[in-house]
Amino acid sequence: MSDTVPGADRRAERGPVLRKGVGIPASGWFDPRGRALGGFAFSANRVTGLGLVFYLYLHLGVLSLLLRGERSWDDFIRLATSWAFLSLDVVLILGILYHGLNGIRVALVGSGLVADRQRALWWSLGVFGTIALVAAALHIYGSR
């Protein structure tokens, strides 16, 4: 057509896309506004996953101390049996339990076996995990 309508060409462009979060990709995963239980479980799974990967490198780094001889290893063991360090161990157990148990929840729900019980699974596995965490904490602190 010979006549143009104002703005017609610019309407065809792809406009900006709003994402949750602070402008960095994936930061929206950790935006708590408007989230329900499932969303928090999703975010926590990613946080614990990153934490466990970080721990893995830390662990390898610690083990490499063995290469530096008995003295540096003994120094490390003294640090590793302090209250602060043992508390970090409890945090590690929390991360392992959460990531593992939520992983079981995701597997059960995501394969369609328990498609519509995600909240009930979260709470029941959470109870089990809390008991396991308390038992582990008692064992860790008790052994000192």
Partner: protein
């Protein structure tokens, strides 16, 4: 609703603005008279009528049946026509839906939302019959519109869609699962093939935000899981 006559207070609205002729986006502040019954959409329309005629908002049915008035309000997906201003705290921030390109101001371009759907979108479903009721002569069973009102709140809430534009998203997958429930002439295998894709049913990571955001009882997350169950069964058995 003309709130001015019976206004019980003023509320401040912080509204996302974007016009394609101007650089970038901004937030405008508006003070609006409201009552205990004023909806978010009524407040936005009051702004449009009395303060700024250039404010673009999307609405049609005013009763949560057409799905056009979806927005993010204070970071949460909602249909503006059934969201009470009284239920919202502080300064009310209103933005368009996430993960769908913005056309202007609070209006998103639903083209990319609709294009994710499989070729057939179910619009009618059977009403469950009961032994105590009859249907009129010549009508075998009552029928009704599907729950899904194509509002896009689920796509906006989905954390996977936030980082992946290729993912077909919860609404499309829920529609596919409903076609398996009631094929009405569609070939179920073709639907399962469509869903059996890394960017299809397998891209979902069980955040369940879609079900939490859905205003119409579609339960897209549960439907995606059921769809995955059907896909897994097909692989195992085939």
């Amino acid at each position: 609703m003309t709130a001015v006559g019976g206004a019980t207070g003023m509320r401040t609205f912080r509204v996302y603005r974007y016009k394609r002729g101007e650089p970038g986006w901004r937030f405008d502040l508006f003070d609006v008279p409201v009552t205990s019954r004023t909806t978010l959409l009524e407040a936005l329309r009051w702004i449009q009528l009395h303060l700024d005629r250039t404010l673009a908002i999307r609405h049609s049915c005013l009763h949560a049946s057409c799905g056009t008035c979806g927005v993010q309000v204070n970071g949460r997906e909602a249909l503006a026509c059934v969201t009470g201003v009284d239920d919202l705290g502080g300064t009310i921030t209103v933005e368009p839906l996430a993960n769908i390109p913005v056309l202007t101001d609070l209006v998103v371009d639903m083209r990319e939302f609709v294009e994710r759907f499989p070729e057939e979108i179910p619009s009618i479903r059977a009403v469950a019959s009961s032994p105590e009721t009859d249907t009129p002569d010549g009508i075998d069973g009552y029928e009704r519109f599907e729950d899904c009102i194509e509002c896009g709140l689920c796509l906006s809430a989905c954390p996977v869609s936030a980082t992946s534009d290729g993912y077909v998203g919860p609404a499309a997958l829920a529609a596919a699962q409903r076609l398996l429930e009631e094929p009405r002439g569609t070939d179920p295998d073709r639907i399962l093939d469509w869903a059996d894709d890394p960017l299809g049913a397998w891209r979902c990571h069980a955040a369940f935000e879609c079900t939490a955001a859905c205003p119409s009882n579609v339960a897209p997350a549960e439907r995606i899981m059921a769809l995955r169950g059907a896909l897994a069964g097909r692989r195992g058995g085939a």
